[in-house]
Amino acid sequence: MTTLSNQPLDLDSLLAETEDDSAGALVVFSGTIRNHHDNKSVERLSYTAYEPIAKKAIAEIEQEVKDIFGVTQCRIIHRIGDLEIGDIAIHCVVRSAHRGEAFEAAKYAIDTTKSRVPIWKEEHYSDGTSVFREGTPLKAD
């Protein structure tokens, strides 16, 4: 299963991969590149990752989401490389029997991915400067 990609993300393949006749709810969170941050005009973002741990962490989060919320499907895919405004950086797909746990699980999936997966984003501004966005320190245990 692909969890990191340097190519445009394909939601249709994730939806096909997670097809589940027992699920009455499908929640998709897609993170897109916006054109501003802290009153600065953003031109593009560069995502980098430490792939050996990032892939493992995403797989762990997918399983964790299913275990915690009892949802039947959870898939997460994150793009790396240079992204333009409007490009999709991440898809989180959750399917479950009912909508309540699907919404909660999808929020947990994106929040946890942002705080536990070694991925970094550098924002490139219209004035020619760039900044790595502040992140969450990883823990050793």
Partner: protein, 84 residues
């Protein structure tokens, strides 16, 4: 006898600060990560403020700073993360 150098992978903002994806330092005589990080700061003082917030990894495992480096290890420094 340990290899002469320790390769340190600098990711995210650390790569920007050092200008290198991989820095090499003398292998720390006490095999400690702390000694390795102190040596890195001597070569690249710009990373000093960031290092306390970085996690350390060997391969696909995050390790505590008390980890004793072993022959063949390459140290990976992971700054605070923030994808999505």
């Amino acid at each position: 006898m340990q290899a002469a150098n320790l390769r340190i992978h600098c990711l995210g903002i650390l790569q920007s600060q050092t200008g290198q994806a991989i820095c090499e330092i003398d292998w720390p005589q006490d095999n400690s990560i702390e000694t390795a990080l102190a040596a890195l700061v001597e070569v690249h003082p710009s990373v000093a403020n960031e290092l306390p917030r970085c996690a350390c990894a060997i391969g696909d495992e995050i390790v505590p700073r008390s980890y004793q480096l072993q022959a063949g290890d390459e140290l990976v420094l992971l700054p605070p993360v923030g994808g999505g």
